[in-house]
Symmetry: D2
Subunit: 325 residues, 4 copies
């Protein structure tokens, strides 16, 4: 019996602790662990290796993923999936743990339907936008990187009576910007999930500036650039022209993905992986996703995860209401 | 109507974000916020002040508590509690939010019985040892400080083929040491909650050292020095004499309490405080503790919190079993 | 006798430790310290305050400047300078310590010529581009922030076989990008001070990629966008099209200015300020700049500082030569 | 022609960047680089390996030393040194770069006298106590770790009106404690190099506490426990009994050695190594030590380095005088 692990789609902090725990936990359970390198592309190309302790020694505190990731168009074609399946067969691998987002889970679900390979998907994306789970691996580390950047930018804004606009990742989901706004003491938070009222915000800020406020911090989700939301450049213009305060924008970019995983991400990685292996070693015969819900871990179907768009918790949105009015 | 906030007992990261959110949320709800300085001692001595935005500007990223804390013997005496009550009356304060541990909650409960002052207790202690809640404010920051120290000590141990023993805080509870052991890739974890078998650990380590292991990381809870557990100096001696590896001990001490609060602690602070104020502004007529349980916030009685000793989640203990054998 | 301190132009880490040391050292020398808020603008508007220990308590670890900064057009006019001088006279201030860049020094030099106010300028700018000094306050903190960002971005690049282009500050000077490239193990470094040869770089990288290189890290100075250098977007295009590797750009922006000052910046702040005060308390009758050169502190004239453009040390440029070919 | 690198004695941050630069710079100069593992012990036992790019990929940001270190008694005996020399001969190695302290340099000097092996010693010790150089590798990273710990401990002290005593490394030299005291805003600094007057300190502190001071931070060098200085436990007792303030001690220990090397340590590592290789590739026929002095790098004899005890710069001691009275 042999299990393999792979990482797919966007990388995030927590993947390396997950890979380490995967190898340790397999050996504790006397199962042979395998590493699939380069995601679905590597699965097609046979970049598969029996894992040793050496492979994962000292990777706990590294960001990204040591077995690398990819996005694969080839995997949409049956021919390549068949090739991938034959690669697994050569090593006797019949179970997979995959870390990634819903796209990756759908891809493996098709693979399961084709060839019956059992797998568990572990939600891993800093966007935190997978339906059915309260937590996706990597989010806590990303949030703490944003916090450090925001604390730093605030220092410099406060030195100049300036506004700063900080744009976080999150193409379809404002989670990162929302939590950062609440926890970094922002004055404005622009995310797709919350209606904002510029007039009302403007009135509030002008009042506070008149009362001695020295700086303004705004958090904006990347996704706001495409939707009905106000984009970062437009928000900067509005602050300068309508509010009359010098403004600087910072687009955090890929800095948010990397970095030494936080304790929370390391712990979630350990738990996600251990219970996934337990599940695969039991009578599990399908593809499922492990989710974290109400402090517990459960397994749900790929269909369930794909059935709806992730929604941010109402109470969190509530906490930010004073930042959109 | 006026509400006051105070911090009591051991300080922790997250108290300052809680104080800031307290002031902001009171103003949003048009209630006058008050700050009680120096914990119960300050309550007795009348160190009470109406809070302004200025008082809490820019404290979000500071460790410790800006309104300071204390341990009070005087508060056990009725006479001093009466004096404290009269101080509150002068300001028209009839509701209190208190951050601290179960000792502080018991003290305020007596105060409530004496004079009917309503209060909500927010669990705040890095030991994470309060019954009835899954989380106490400050734990996540403390864990991340321990992580950085452990990552650093491992570097130097690995440079020398050495063992290191890292002693964390936790007088009655091994939570910090346990989670640190799991998330920092330790080889040994000694906490009061887990029986360990030195013979078995010794056999395992000797095998691994023979197979090329270069260093050993051990996490020990402070509480282990008094109980049946092996103390840090004895563990060092055992490693040097029985396992035959040079060993260094590091006692982390008060470093664990301070530091820039993590996002998780800031967010929990915001939620704990907001819901506590909501509760006090509703028809709440007693003393209760807000607890975090299965991703939700609830209010329980002081008696409930004091009815049992906190127990670490079974699944976490399970993850560490391979570190005690 | 009274001395005032002010910060002018772009802010940087190290200004707050300088302000704290200024107040402490004045009191040790029994001179009354004053704070001028908001830079030259505040000097014109009379934002001047006798400093207390309270004003500077606990600011050592804060980024930016607590007394704020500004850029001032009004100060070019004699009338406003006269008003500024009268403000100083009201408080009996006849000596100034100013932290800033050469523009700020020139402004105060005119002020000195007009009214005889003695001052010492302390070079403070993360660009490290002031002639005559080997070090400008704030550079070490900025470099360490860039290091953390680069370490993080490399993690994610390595997870994907990608190139990353990281643009640092430095409008006229490539110092930040150069040192970051050397110390973060970059493969390419584009700065105005170094001629590069894209053909040669391309050949080298293609060879290394063929031999298994997994990622490419490029550091680019902001100033490269205007000069003969290749700009960030053009470098991205070249990497994608000519080298054939997926590439992401990160523009670090204002994050580089803020953050907890490093030990080096705190120490330089203490020394710069103490010796400047010593100088002003001696028979100093002019405007000068304190510079750091060959491990020693000296005083030079404003004219000297303005006489040439800062040049990066030859040996540092030498260390980076393999990154431009 | 072949050059080897080794690390010896206590490890420090900056050794890994030095090893990486060593390999890169050798290849740029078309010399074969070798790695000697486990210090002098490994030299005796033949733990020598031709270095590849792979060996040093991604080690720039790791603390400690990837090729490990040791202390060796055997190397005092001619027989073992002869064996070491024969190991080098097998690989054709006739030049060595060694990172360590003066003990390691003396050991290699004897080796040079015995067998004519040329070498350059790079001062590397967080104690910063090697005569003849203004800087030893690892010091800047150690100082920044102490800074973060001190900033954290101050938070918790300020929350409780407490004193804290922080003991840094430094058996014979108070450099770490001194610079930390200056840069972290301490009130007391106890090091072997500075006479202190407890009566005078006591009077000062009592005055400040009466004027509202909320906490006291003391930095003490490890070495103070053996000499005429007051030891950490005695200082704690004095603060509690004579000054009347609750006090906690923190002994930082091995945490100070590890951690991601700062930019300054990475840059010094690059320069130390590059110029050492240049020297060895020129007509250098002896053992020397590369030192950093007045912003320049020079080569001095082992005898010079051993001729005197390192002395801390007078101006730094001067800055701390108000902390010992």
């Amino acid at each position: 019996m042999a299990i393999a692990i792979m990482t797919s789609g966007g990388d995030c902090a927590g993947m390396n602790p997950a890979i380490k725990q995967f190898v340790d936990y397999c050996y504790t359970n006397e199962v042979q662990p395998y590493l699939i390198y380069d995601g679905l592309e590597g699965l097609i190309d046979g970049a598969i290796k029996a894992a040793t302790y050496e492979d994962v020694a000292g990777i706990m505190h590294e960001g990204g993923t040591k077995i690398r990731s990819s996005r694969s168009k080839r995997f949409f074609e049956y021919e390549y999936r068949k090739q991938a399946f034959e690669n697994l067969q050569k090593h006797g691998i019949d179970k997979i743990v995959i870390l990634g987002g819903d796209g990756s889970f759908r891809a493996l679900n098709q693979f399961h339907k084709d060839f019956g390979v059992n797998f568990v998907g572990i939600p891993a994306t800093i966007d935190n936008d997978i339906y059915g789970t309260e937590y996706c691996l990597g989010v806590d580390t990303a949030l703490n990187i944003i916090r450090q950047a925001t604390d730093a930018v605030r220092d410099t804004s406060a030195s100049f009576r300036r506004a700063c606009v900080i744009e976080t990742m999150g193409r379809d989901c404002g989670y990162l910007a929302l939590v950062s706004a609440i926890t970094c003491g922002a004055e404005i938070c622009i995310i797709p999930e919350l209606e904002y009222d510029l007039d009302s915000i403007g009135k509030r800020l002008k009042g506070e500036l008149a009362n001695g406020r020295k700086y303004i911090v705004c958090l904006v989700a990347e996704g706001c650039n495409k939707d009905k939301c106000i984009s970062t450049p437009n928000l900067v213009r509005w602050l300068e022209e309508d509010i009359g305060i010098e403004t600087r924008a910072t687009i955090l970019g890929h800095v948010q993905r990397g970095g030494n995983p936080t304790v929370f991400d390391r712990l979630m990685a350990s738990e996600f992986v251990s219970y996934s292996i337990d599940k695969l070693l039991s009578d599990h015969k399908e593809g499922s996703v492990i989710v974290y819900k109400k402090s517990e871990f459960e397994f749900v179907s790929i269909e369930h995860v794909n059935s709806q768009k992730y929604k941010i918790r109402e109470d969190l949105l509530e906490l930010a209401k004073r930042l959109v009015n």
